[in-house]
């Protein structure tokens, strides 16, 4: 590197990226919210494991679910998981590209197919739990 370009390079101004970068733009903020919902997804999976570990003890099982705190936490977790699922299903069309000759199958169909599978699986699991709870 010549003296001139070396001198020029050392005088280049580098702007620091603030730690609060994700507050500077709405899309950044929504991205961080989406990423943080993973904590609730993983957290609820852990909760389910602990719950199932007490499947043989009816009282302990019920105690984990019956308190008002449990209901509030469940509602929050439900909102987080819904946000997580909806944002990701809406992005599936970016990942899955289906071609019909020269045209792409509309992204809406890809997302729609994922929604159908999601709802069908959710209803099935809900139905199974309902049946078990009823017996």
């Amino acid at each position: 590197m010549s003296n001139q370009s070396a001198a020029r390079k050392s005088k280049e101004y580098v702007r620091p990226m603030p730690v609060t970068w994700w507050l500077n733009r709405k899309t950044y903020f929504l991205f961080m919210v989406r990423e943080l919902t993973c904590l609730f997804v993983g957290g609820y999976a852990l909760f389910l494991l602990v719950l199932l570990a007490q499947a043989n003890d009816a009282d302990a099982f019920a105690a984990m679910l019956n308190s008002p705190l449990s209901v509030v936490l469940h509602l929050v977790a439900l909102l987080m998981v819904l946000y997580h699922s909806i944002t990701w299903i809406n992005l599936t069309s970016k990942v899955m590209v289906v071609w019909r000759r020269e045209d792409r199958v509309s992204p809406k169909w890809i997302a729609a197919a994922n929604y159908v599978v999601w709802v069908a699986l959710s209803l099935s699991i809900f139905g199974i739990c309902w049946k078990i709870a009823g017996t």
């Binding site: 580098v14 990226m17 994700w22 992005l91 990942v95």
Partner: protein
Amino acid sequence: MAANDADQSGRKIILEVFRYRPDEEDEPRFDRYDVPYREDWVVLDALNHVKDTMDGTLSYRWACRMGVCGSCGMMVNGEPKLTCATFLRDYYPEPIRIEPLDYFPVIRDLVINMDDFLHKLDDVQAWLIPKEERSVSEGEYRQSPAELARYKQFSMCINCMLCYSACPVYGRHQGFIGPAAIALAQRYNLDSRDGGAEDRAEVIFSHEGIWECTFVGDCTRVCPKNVDPAAAIQQAKVAATKDLFMSVLVPHGTKEQ
């Protein structure tokens, strides 16, 4: 230009422009310019007016002034934009803040050092690596409309680097290969004439490549040519994963190789 002005109202708009003169000062500053407001002016017109009539020392890049060359990218009110495609009327009467593209070092005023991006184009080998050599006498490569459609969207990239200024991953770590470079690699990987996917894989599938991407999606949002680099990167992730599975299930490859 002034003689033909339809707008005689004398309306003005304020530009707050980032200035950095390394030969004069160590720190940047903002200069305010009161420029004429015209309904049909873009930010680039206003900058040219400043340079022509008010302050000839202002430095910035531009060329085609019609959104195809990718030269005039700058931050306009904190958003990466092509200044030739950003209308004053969308901001009037509020002042407009103009800064150099984010996440690149500033050489002077609004001019950034884009060497990093250019090196990455080299790294990903953003050119055709023909699957089969053809001499000129053998005639042209033939490609159907369907084959063209596979990669056409990613070929629209004008190398304007707005996506790099939108990408927080790149902002935190300039080692990331970045949206445009990966989209261009995909453009060639998907081109039926190209046989260089394996050559590019080492760079694209590295820890500085696609796996750094956390799918923020802002690159796609700011892209002026609808290239959708985020989609290119996610599709590359699928391709890389398929490659991995195939290499495990079929270790020595298929007969086609």
